[in-house]
């Protein structure tokens, strides 16, 4: 019984946490939500928002 509760808490706890983190990161957009952010040479350098040419 104990092992079942332990496994259940671990699995569902971890699942909930990953989902929460994913949605939060995706909403940040940009590099945080990108799956290749570490290798990306194109756009992930520290560019400041206000220095972007306005649309």
């Amino acid at each position: 019984m104990l092992i079942n509760i332990l496994l259940g808490v671990l699995i569902f706890g971890y699942a909930g946490w990953t989902l929460y983190r994913f949605v939060r990161k995706s909403k940040e957009g940009k590099c945080a939500g990108c799956s290749i952010k570490n290798s990306c040479k194109s756009a992930c350098d520290a560019q400041l928002e206000e220095q972007k040419a306005p649309l």
Binding site: L7, G8, T18, L19, K30, C34, S39, S42, C44, Q51
Partner: protein, 670 residues
């Protein structure tokens, strides 16, 4: 002392900067543009080095290129360090001449002297220096640092020297107009008035802006037009002032080089030039690009990727599941825990992980193409086509990046200067088939198109491109009308990529996919499994009565005309909005299959090949994933355009899937 480092793009400017300076004193952006500004302290401590963006001419094509001119106009510096590519000396001297006309002391680093020698160029540096106002010229190899110390040794002495601007005679008409303009500027303090006048007549918009502060715009226009008339009248082949100035400078450069450059051997074409004659050929360029894409998918699916995936699948469904079951039984886990682990996590996460070999293969080949120098050619080949639809070749680069992941693709659109072209590129890049979608294709082509896997996937990628180009044409001639802009790309020489770099960039690109499987896909799988396990009737219900079936069933009727109106398809597509890989997890969970082959067999009960293709097309186009939507919102800073990019994608996906399904039926496909 401030030293400005100027030169053409790809001349080794960054290498030289790194060698000459110890550390960055400042890294930031030039005001108003997205170009990195780097300032470093020279190793011999005599001053600071400011890295200007690489340019071919001081007359800017885009705002980014205007940085150098703006620098000359407004900042304080005592010396110009000009880096010149010895192998491309004729083109490079064009900038050198403009800088010399400005009239500041200059030191020239003659880079890639080794490459120039191998091409049979022998440059008489002493003589060249004499012809360029005595500016010291030091042959260097910036890559290795050879000669850079001698180069730096010249800075102190040159700083003290007083130099006159280089004088070139541009012919009586232009000279007279230059004289008039200088006279009009008599009362104002400006750096190098003759240089300003010449830049003005060459059409430099930044210089014109500055002049307008002192002279009325109408007067400037009148002077410009009148001079242009005088200069071009009677000359054949010269259509405007800019062309006249260019041609005079070209003559000067050729005269200088005829004295200082000897060619010891005639190399007709370099290897890269020979290859380029074929791969960037007007007619062959695009077919060759398509052939490369086809080969990429052949490797990814038929030749390497799929056999490896099968091995991995055999391991997941065989030994791994067995061990896990035994372990769970041994510790006395309940049925519920066993079900969530085996039917939820192993099915959902494992189902995505089996496609790791294919994803890595694709990334490996993309890295190969990037590093070999072919990618720049692709942009060039596409430029003609892109121009016809109101974009230019530059817009194709974010799209290619989008093949890996749409998020950096959308962000790469920042390099596009024209605001409307940039917006257009941002909203169309999500149509590029990203690697997450590849796992879904893998699942379906393995089930329904075993004989033609590469061809079917190629067709989907092409469909994405064609739809993007078609919509670009429509949008650019209706919603987003604009003036066209120019596209300049430097073609780096071809080279065989280094294995180490290739491996590293493949891993860097692909590891995100694995990490995602361990985190988000894991969480998603647990939730999806639970929704399929629970229903209004309690736990462990028949899946057709589960919550997931209810949710999927709500939207399923909408998809019936497209050939896949099942609750399973509806549920998979809904979850796919979070991340496209989740579609695969969802299918693995709801079709409860122990391995890939069984899953693909089960799917045959729900899809025909035609409806499977229609499903893939819908999935390709239907809506950008959550992360992409967020980045579109950030980059456009407009909720309206963000909703637009979701809305048009849904409509176009529905329309095209509908056409394919019914068109296919009409043609007799099943």
């Amino acid at each position: 002392m401030n030293i400005a480092l100027a030169g053409n793009p790809n001349t080794g400017k960054t290498s030289l900067f790194n060698i000459l300076t110890g550390s960055y004193e400042y890294v930031g952006n030039w005001t108003g543009v997205t170009v990195e500004k780097k300032v470093g302290v020279l190793k011999n401590k005599v001053g600071r080095l400011i890295d200007l963006p690489g340019i071919y001419s001081l007359n800017p094509l885009s705002r980014d290129e205007g940085v150098a001119t703006q620098f000359l106009l407004s900042e304080d510096f005592s010396l110009i360090l000009n880096i010149v590519d010895a192998a491309q000396i004729e083109r490079n001297l064009y900038l050198t001449i403009q800088l010399l006309e400005y009239g500041r002391p200059m030191v020239i680093g003659l880079n890639m002297i080794d490459v120039a020698k191998s091409r049979g160029f022998q440059i008489d540096a002493k003589n060249l220096s004499k012809r360029l106002l005595g500016s010291p010229i030091v042959p260097i190899v910036a890559r290795t640092g050879k000669g850079c110390d001698q180069l730096a040794a010249n800075f102190q002495a040159m700083k003290e020297r007083k130099v006159e601007p280089l004088f070139i005679d541009y012919g009586p008409e232009l000279e007279q107009a230059v004289g008039t303009l200088i006279e009009r500027l008599n009362h104002v303090e400006l750096p190098s008035k003759r240089w300003m006048a010449l830049q003005f007549f060459e059409g430099n918009s930044l210089v014109r802006e500055l002049l307008q502060k002192h002279i009325a715009s109408s007067e400037l226009t009148a002077l410009f037009e009148q001079t242009e008339q005088q200069v071009i009248s009677g000359k054949t082949g010269i259509k405007n002032l800019q062309q006249h100035i260019r041609s005079v400078r070209g003559d000067v450069i050729r005269a200088i080089l005829s004295d200082c450059l000897t060619r010891t051997k005639e190399v007709e074409y370099t290897f890269s030039e020979t290859v380029d004659q074929i791969v960037t050929n007007k007619y062959l360029g695009i077919p060759i690009f398509l052939l490369f894409m086809f080969l990429i998918f052949k490797f990814t699916f038929d030749w390497v990727g799929t056999p490896l995936s099968d091995l991995l699948d055999a391991f997941f469904s065989g030994p791994l599941t067995e061990w896990l079951t035994q372990a769970l039984v041994a510790v006395g886990a309940s049925d519920f825990i066993q079900a969530v682990l085996l039917n939820g996590i192993v099915a959902g996460v494992g189902g995505v992980l089996v496609f790791v070999p294919q994803i890595f293969m694709l990334f490996f080949l993309i890295s190969f193409i990037e590093d070999s120098g072919y990618m720049a050619r692709v942009a060039m080949v596409m430029d003609k086509l892109m121009e016809m639809i109101g974009l230019n070749g530059k817009a194709f680069i974010p799209m290619i990046i989008g093949f890996g992941c749409n998020v950096p693709g959308v962000m790469a659109a920042r390099t596009i200067e024209q605001p409307k072209e940039r917006l257009l590129t941002i909203i169309l890049t999500p149509l590029m088939s990203c690697s997450a979608r590849l796992s879904v294709y893998s699942l379906f082509v393995g089930a329904f198109f075993t004989q033609h896997q590469a061809l079917i996937v190629l067709s989907l990628y092409l469909l994405g491109i064609v739809v993007a180009l078609g919509l670009a044409k429509i949008f650019s001639s209706t919603l987003l009308k604009q003036s066209s802009s120019m596209f300049v790309v430097e073609l780096p020489p071809y080279r065989f990529p280094q294995w180490r770099t290739l491996m590293r960039s493949t891993w860097e690109k692909g590891k995100g996919f694995i990490r995602k499987a361990g985190t988000f896909i894991f969480g998603g799988s647990v939730v999806i499994w639970f929704l399929s396990y629970a229903g209004p009737g309690g736990l462990n219900v028949d899946m057709n009565n589960s919550y997931l079936a209810m949710i999927g069933g709500l939207i399923a009727p909408l998809f019936a005309p497209l050939g896949f109106g099942t609750w399973q398809a509806g549920a998979a597509l809904l979850t796919g909005f979070l991340a496209k890989e989740v579609v695969v997890s969802t299918m693995n969970i709801i079709y409860v299959a122990p391995d890939l082959a069984t899953l693909q067999g089960t799917m045959a009960n729900f899809y025909s090949p035609l409806s499977a293709y229609s499903f893939m097309v819908f999935l390709l186009l239907y809506v950008p994933c959550l992360a992409t939507v967020a980045v579109i919102k950030k980059e456009t800073a407009s909720a309206r355009w963000t909703w637009f990019s979701i809305g048009y994608a849904l409509m176009i996906a529905y329309l095209i899937a509908l056409m394919i399904y019914w068109g296919g039926k009409f043609l007799g496909f099943q």
